[in-house]
Symmetry: C2
Subunit: 462 residues, 2 copies
């Protein structure tokens, strides 16, 4: 057989077999993207729905994903892909709940317990928050795992329960419904095994499709930048943010992206119970300064998107009032109770799961802390058992790491840098080795990281 000719022949070969035509169309769509051409909304939608139906096989989608990875997608194509993924399933209709419902999404990080504080203080302003969250994987934690360290907390609400709770309590944080954007899960599973995860249009469409399908009118995207983030450079983070903001605008949503720092962990606690405790402390007005500022920024943008404040200053005042009045904490307890959790855990965080071994890590030298590698800290927390190596693994709520210092602090040799919460001696030792490597010192005070790199509003993009 002449290899060279079989291929050329194919597109002209089977014009009247409807099944073959379908496959031919898939081939044409792959070839078009392979050649760097722009796909139409219809082509993208046909391809995605064909994949979900099983008419377009995974190997064709895999080739297409690689072509998208290497050739990219225009903003319009990315919005069309987002819409196609949304169209693969149900959409939540939140219009009966309030005129404007807000949501937030974090691109993921280490010590990122933001939702636990932001959702209650925003909801306490009277602005309904309907949030679908995720679970820990790799070096990152997951909001649902953290919440589940509160005894009885249910993160697997049905759609009916989800809607009823946001209607009744104005706040809900639960797992992603399988009926929303099912194409996303299928596409992600394939990207994960074909080296096509790290593509801005594919990431943007994945995130935005879930947010669009979840029904919120306004979405604040917390795009992490740095060593402990998927986007290590500000340039890539900005590109992702711009893409998502444009998608939101072209699909009729108000979107603001906040580029926030993830070179070192956010706040001090990294784990599950330890992060819940830190979130409760923050709602009690005793949280770490960086984490509080971060929460006020994200929550402030949510309040602004909904038109509940005229500027950032007013938004901040409104939110600080929810914190200081205890309204935020009360809303958090209301959510915990509504989702079956034991609120005694909120009143007394000492009830949260505790590790058998709690051991400080002394500073090996005196000096300024120049870096705390967020990725290494996240991986170490996962190694201790706080995270997952793969989907479905159990997590240990008790274990984790609590920093005593952050970048820029001066420490003396022997002083505790952090505390390791472990349930096994061998894991403790591995964690000690890893964490010593993760922290760097300098003689002079280091250049501080900005907490917020940039805020991008939908009115900012051309």
């Amino acid at each position: 057989m002449n290899d060279s000719l079989r291929g050329r022949a194919a597109p002209e070969a089977i014009p009247h077999n409807p099944y073959a035509r379908m496959r031919m169309n898939a081939i044409e769509i792959i070839a078009k993207k392979r050649d760097g051409q722009t796909l139409t909304r219809e082509e993208i939608n046909d391809f995605v729905q064909g994949f979900v139906r099983g008419d377009v096989p995974d190997y064709q989608v895999a080739a297409w994903l690689m072509a998208v990875f290497l050739r990219g997608m225009s903003y319009q194509e990315t919005a069309d892909l987002t819409l196609a993924i949304v169209n693969s399933g149900d959409r939540l209709d939140l219009s009966g709940i309030a005129p404007f419902v807000v949501d937030k999404h974090s691109s993921g990080g280490v010590g990122d317990k933001t939702t636990l504080v932001v959702a209650p203080i925003v909801a306490a302003c009277g602005l309904p928050v309907a949030k679908m969250s995720g679970r820990a994987l790799g070096f990152t934690g997951g909001t649902l795992d953290k919440l589940e360290s509160i005894r009885g907390f249910r993160a697997d609400l049905t759609t009916e329960e989800f809607l009823a709770q946001v209607r009744e309590h104005g706040i809900v944080v639960s797992g992603q419904s399988k009926d929303l954007a099912p194409a996303d899960g299928k596409l992600y599973a394939l990207r994960d095994v074909t080296a096509t995860v790290d593509s801005i249009p594919l990431i943007a469409a994945s995130i935005m499709s879930k947010k669009i399908a979840s029904g919120a009118n306004g979405i604040v995207l917390d795009v992490k930048v740095g060593r402990g983030a998927f986007m290590e450079t500000e340039e890539r983070a900005l590109e992702l943010a711009q893409t998502m903001v444009r998608i939101g605008r072209s699909l009729g949503r108000r979107v603001t992206a906040v580029l926030s720092d993830m070179n070192q962990p956010l706040g001090l606690a990294v784990g599950n119970a330890v992060e819940v405790r830190e979130a409760i402390d923050t709602l009690n007005g005793r949280g770490p300064a960086d984490f509080l500022q971060h929460c006020l920024t994200i929550a402030g943008q949510m309040v602004l998107l909904a038109g509940r404040a005229k500027d950032e200053h007013e938004a901040r005042e409104l939110l600080l009032h929810q914190l200081h009045s205890g309204a935020g904490l009360a809303k958090f307890k209301e959510m915990v109770a509504a989702q079956g959790g034991d609120t005694a855990y909120v009143d007394d965080p000492d009830r949260l799961p505790k590790a058998r071994i709690v051991e400080p890590l002394p500073a090996p030298q005196s000096g300024y802390i120049a870096a705390i590698d967020a990725r290494q800290v996240g991986l170490t927390a996962a190694l201790l058992g706080a995270g997952r190596q793969k989907k479905g693994d159990p997590v240990d709520y008790a274990v984790g790491i609590v920093l005593a210092h952050k970048v820029g602090d001066y420490v003396k040799s022997g002083e505790p840098l952090l505390t390791i919460h472990a349930n096994a001696a061998d894991k403790l030792r591995q964690a000690q080795l890893r964490l010593r490597e993760a922290i760097r010192f300098s003689d002079a005070p280091p250049q501080p990281y900005p907490l917020i790199h940039r805020i991008l509003r939908d009115t900012d993009v051309a």
Copy 2:
């Protein structure tokens, strides 16, 4: 779930599960090629053997093929891929048959009955020819289908029969053994449906792996250039030729590539029985001039590779002697007989299958023939039934097209341009319409096509 983080996490996620490690390696190999890095021989071999064993699933191979398509491969990587495909199956050992066995391969064309003449005249020189051929697909014909228009001819020899015949008769033309280079068929099937056919390293490795596995010491590659070829430009054809010649050299084979013209059909006949008749006519010294010259070039390079002549002139004299003495025709009959064919068909080509309708197509105007679009002629022959739209379709041996004129000829309005051999009136009409479109006229004599664009020897490449 944070989309962005799952992916980053993956490569670090499952270090101790051996199955997962296997998959991780596949992901790393895909990612390396995706990023334009060079794969090692071991990586390429692991990936290909993993695919053949079923350990690397087709979706991973599909993503990898697209990465190869868009990122390319070095000569070394292409040779390593060729070797990996060869290693997926058996190798024929022809060393017991003769010190030097030659083979030829055409990249496929329209009216390309070259093997039917070249194999016997080379074998008649005492140089064993062991050739595995292909079947028609799309716009191209297949040597095996042509030979099967001779009653009884068997193109499906076993490996034992193949070896016995070349040992006994010094000539054999049969189908590709399924035991040789099985990875090629699997890879091709996937390329065909993932828009990754038209990649020079993939084409080169596909062709060369089959040739290497077939055991010949010397290989002449007939790389077609033009409208009726897979490589439409001389630049692409040269790139393919250079790649294949280099692969051959790095795997210890003597290889010469002939870039030959395929803008118009080769010779006059396009079909199965009509091409066999033209080949027999040529062996009888009455073939079309262009086809004869082409055959003498290809055969001459085979004779030169084997060291049976000191230069092209001597090779040509030797081959013309086989033609004029009748030794070539005798060898052809010997092969037909050995493979179960009825040699009465060779003695009297009128016995070959005949179409019910044989109708000339008159010239619509007077003028010089400026172009006869080989691709359109090939597609039209396939439409008449001479070819296949997809693998496994039956072919009609009787139908086809026989040109009366070639590019550069002057014709008068109404004079026959060609004869259509059809078995159905509707197909005849469709063929007439298509063929009228395929032929262009000019008032002035057109620039003639070169028959041979270039000859590339392994001593020519750096």
